[in-house]
């Protein structure tokens, strides 16, 4: 089998897979391990190299599964915004931490607390700029489910900004 498939179609996805793994594991080392595991599995399954049409979707799906396995979080609902994550408590921080980096870090923490599926859909759309169809194929869900998850994620981010604005005012 031609190893060009691996070199030209799969390896270039590594950064994208790393960002996805990072958003699920929240840890660079774990994310690197996940990507290595996924790529190694594909490397060893040469019999499928000529059979997969949508490598992006295949790799995203594999990465998500491996990352979830690693985190023992197969149940997406386990990752939800915990009750203790109250942005209002951070009001003082927002006012004092005027540096953009710090404000962004707060937003980052908030996004990390979204339920896993919403967060993954949000990431694939916002960062990887994938259309609904490709996201649906990659995550093995319907386009409607993609839209619902993205809508919920965006609404939460919107709430974050609205709440923040009201505290500052």
């Amino acid at each position: 089998m031609n190893s060009d498939v691996f070199q030209k179609k799969i390896l270039p996805l590594a950064d994208k897979l790393f960002r996805l793994a990072l958003s699920i594991t929240g840890n660079k080392q774990d994310a690197e391990d996940v990507v290595q595991d996924v790529l190694l599995k594909i490397w060893n399954k040469r019999e499928i190299w000529g059979k997969v049409d949508n490598w992006e979707g295949y790799c995203i799906r594999s990465t998500r599964n491996v990352a979830l396995d690693k985190m023992e979080l197969k149940d997406n609902q386990q990752l939800s915004i915990p009750e203790h994550f109250d942005i209002k408590e951070s009001k003082a921080d927002i006012q004092s931490q005027l540096e953009a980096e710090e404000r962004m870090s707060l937003l980052e923490q908030y996004i990390e607390q979204l339920p896993e599926k919403q967060r993954t859909v949000f990431l694939l759309r916002e960062i990887e700029e994938m259309n609904y169809k490709d996201i649906a194929l990659a995550l093995n869900i319907t386009q409607e489910q993609v839209k619902v998850n993205l809508f919920r994620a965006r609404q939460k981010v919107k709430e974050y900004f609205e709440n923040k604005k009201s505290w500052i005012e």
Partner: protein, 145 residues
């Protein structure tokens, strides 16, 4: 500005295209945005920062296993048989030669006596014979010294 506000509203409702979302992104990345929209700069910054995250540790290819191709394998087997074959043949030939040498040179010793007195008698007789042949006597040898 109305367009941006309209796009933003449609963005929250998931009604924007990827191109429109890119337009919003580049607008909010600009630091000179109106005060009432300034907080969305954070979202654009987060998107920019996250999209530049890269895998630092490149994929480690597994070490290649040594694969014997069928032809190479067959040659190895033939060489192995040849080596042992030549070894055994050489050894066989050597043993055959050694057997031949021994069978030609070896003659059984005749039965000899083990009686010491008889041996001494025979030896003395032999010495006398030598003396006679040489015209010498043991005594004369002693006197010459």
């Amino acid at each position: 500005m109305d367009r941006i506000k309209d796009l933003l509203e449609r963005y929250w409702q998931c009604e924007t295209s990827i191109e429109e979302e890119k337009e919003l992104q580049s607008f909010f990345l600009d630091k000179n945005i109106p005060e009432d929209l300034s907080s969305y700069h954070e979202l654009a910054s987060w998107k920019k920062k996250t999209s530049t995250e890269k895998l630092e540790k490149r994929f480690q290819f597994p070490k290649k296993k040594i694969e014997f191709y069928p032809l190479l394998r067959a040659v190895a087997v033939v060489l192995l048989f040849l080596t042992f074959g030549i070894g055994f043949y050489t050894r066989y030939e050597q043993e055959k030669k050694i057997d031949l040498i021994f069978s030609e040179s070896f003659t059984e010793m005749p039965e000899t006596t083990k009686d010491p007195e008889e041996i001494v008698a025979k030896a003395s007789a032999l010495l006398l014979l030598i003396e006679e042949q040489n015209g010498l006597k043991a005594d004369s040898l002693e006197t010459q010294e």
